[in-house]
Amino acid sequence: MGLNSRWSEHPRVQRRFLLFSFAAALIFLLLILRLWYLQMISYERYNERSIRNRTRVLSLAAPRGPIFDRDGKLLVDNRPSFGISVMRQDVTDREMLLQRLAELLPADPAELEHRWKEGNRFPVYRPVPLAHDVSRETMERVLEHSLELPGVLTEVRPVRDYLEKGSAAHLMGYLGEVTESELEQELFQDYLPGDYVGKIALEKEYEAYLTGHRGQRLVEVDVKGKLLRQLQMEPARPGNKLYLTLSQPLQRAADMAFGDQSGAAVALDVHSGEVLAMVSRPTFDPGLFARGIASDEWVELLRDPRHPLQNKVLSGLYSPASTFKMIVAMAAMRDKMSTVHRVVDCSGRFELGEATFRCWKKEGHGRTGLKEALRESCDVWFYQVGLDLGIEKLAVAAKEFGLGAPVGFPLPGEKKGVIPSKQWKREQLNAPWYGGETVIASIGQGFVLATPIQLAVMTAALANGGQVYTPQIIRRIEDWQGDTLLQAEPELVRQIEYAPEAWSAVRSGLEAAVNEARGTGWAARLETVRVAGKTGTSQVVRRKSDEEEEQDSGDGVEVPYRFRPHALFVAYAPADNPQIAVAVVVEHGQHGGSAAGPIAKAILEAYFDNSQSVTRHDSVGDDDV
């Protein structure tokens, strides 16, 4: 014992005790220094990470702005839809899950698999949508089985609701998921993958107005992501309201009148250029896109030979045919005022050198003046007057009336059409101009091409005394609280000057065409309002020989659909105080008066709210070339 005690008091051992104490203190100091580093120096960093750990930002979808017609009737709205999504990180057995879900929905497991794969570009914490817009029953069925479906969520999402279905679909456009290349653009900087954006037409062009401002909730979650409480809330701001110039009753009437036929129709307010109706047929249901269009449906739309996805009002190119005659008459009167009294003897044929041009009426119109030529659409009168006038002067007049150049409609895709001239032919075809080409241009055939909206602008300018307006579709934009953000004003492009006699001569010709006996536009006649109009029948293929023509005209119904001529009709009303101008094209409709006339009439009828409409006189209208 004594020895032991002495050993412990040995200075060397005493030093060891001291050394051990110091070593312990030193190691503790090291720990404290580390704590200092973590808690004092790196505090900001770790604190931020701890906040990020426990908080989640949940975004609140903002309802997209609704679209109304000019009188405030709702055309496009949002409705809640139920979607089935999956949180990938919570899924252990993907195949089993998709199989089970496919039975419940029901859906094709391969389709679900495909959707899952598509979702791989989302960040992991974002649910991948597996089914869009399912019924309430389906959603409830999935909820009942949620225990067997770990990671599957049901989500409520506002989806675009096109109340008028396919009506004006080309104008409204549709939505689709934002693409990666769009996301790189500045316009889409606040968008997230999976968001829906306007893909064409108004939905696209007015995206910035229509899209709302997403809100967000800052919530606290536990480690399992379970929501514990809300820390902050910024409500979503709905998109702005678009008031169109469109009138829903007119639009409906026009759509109804078309039936199964394809073609285009547009109605303009004569004094402002506001588009009152815009129809392109056949159409499609933009709602298909809202819920995610199936690829076979899409292919079907793309392959349809009648081009349902094309807005024919803006991009359909047609020979204006006889509707062009009003321009020829105007141009000729500007050239020589005496044209008003010009009389041409129509024998049914017109000879120029070797060539023979025929009037649509084989036996001829006999001695024909300007008014009769317009009323009965005598081709020979216009062959002669056009030839005397020359293509250059005709082209200038046509361009003044808005043909041959885009009219400036606020949606892209507008075609500019063709108003030929000597210079144009040299540039485009590197060939000289022939007199015969002037002859057929005078009845709106040959190289002349125009879009329905150009024809409507032309007709409106004729009706209002030469004011060419830019067609407008947006009347007003309001924010969701009702404050006006934008109020459209009429945009006068130019004022065309003609002698007053010129205006009245052509107008009375057009009025006669609809209202007088032997008028070609009889089918558009209204009892209460006097309508002025002009028919047109546009050749689709050039006839090879006179023999063929004779067969065709003898038994027109037998002509294969795709070779049948397009039927055109342009009109304005009332004749003495014009308010509305209409242009209608029925593709392969054969006869301008009988096919396109009734549609123009239906639009005008709706415009004047003419409930006691006159009985239809389909058979009275005669066809012309």
Binding site: R12, L31, Q39, M40, Y43, Y46, D222, V223
Partner: protein
Amino acid sequence: MFDRRLLTHFDWVLLLTVFLLAGVGIANLYSSTSGWNFIATPIYLKQMVWLCGGVGMALLICCFDYRHLEHFSIHSYLVSIGLLLIVLLLGKTTMGATRWIDLGPFNLQPSEVIKIVMIMLLARIFGRTAHPLGYSLGELWQPALLICLPMLLILKQPDLGTAMMLLFIAVSMLVFAGLRRSTLLGLAVMGSGCAVTGWFFLHDYQKARIKTFLNPEADPLGSGYHIIQSKIAVGSGGFSGKGFLSGTQSQLSFLPERHTDFAFSVFAEEWGFAGCSLLLLIYLFLIIWGIYISRRAADRFGMFLALGVTAMIFWHIVVNLGMVIGLLPVVGVPLPLFSYGGTNMVTTMIGVGLLMSVSMRRFKF
């Protein structure tokens, strides 16, 4: 056997320090498990029961003269080795490791028992043979063999943490017993050699832990999750902490094993640098006090015994804190008196009992 004079020398300082630390630990457990409404008996209550049992055990041990232990140490050692062998053969396997012997009402963990027994045995060896100039390498074969046998058995379980603890305790006692410079050098060379070869014997999960320690961000949701979440908890505590019951990392369950090995993270988050420093000072005081007891011990066996127990507590603290604050790889070592768990509480309190026993009998009588 019990001398009334002993009462006057009772080490109140040690007991109070232990109560203070255990009290803070229980309050911390109360906070870290406050969201747990799925268990019948709250964790902090269970820990209180363990503490009471532990203190009772410590008081019982301190009544018993530690000097008798010197004679039992060899038998105890042999029994412990036997138990370790039984564990390997018929032990209860949880989470891939075989560490427990099922004794009905409770599980016996022989690797904990061997810590105390090892300290007793080494105290006996170093107490009896004095080498004033320090041990030479050749004189160390006997203690080295006695250390290596249980270490290998524990490594086989596998339990790297406990094996390392055993090594740290033994080396501490050895260094205190005195080593020649050449011995130190030789041990260092052998140690690094063992570390390199040892790497190849490590289990994959153990290698992963070490790799994770070196670069936790490589697998933030996998093996790096513990350490990252723990560092976030500690770091976000700042100077004054988020307040009792207000640690978001722990209250929202981001922190795994927050009532056992990572209990200190919860404390650091809620009490901040100020609280941590204070707690560490109390722990340091416990260690210094242990060394002080060792220094005042009546005999060499008592001195080494007290030093060994102190080393055991010290290394547990250092390794646990080092792991929690990202200085050491994650090895399952609890923080004495702070982490929840009966086994650790019992081992620590047996150690405390031995310290008290040595402390009370510091005067020769």
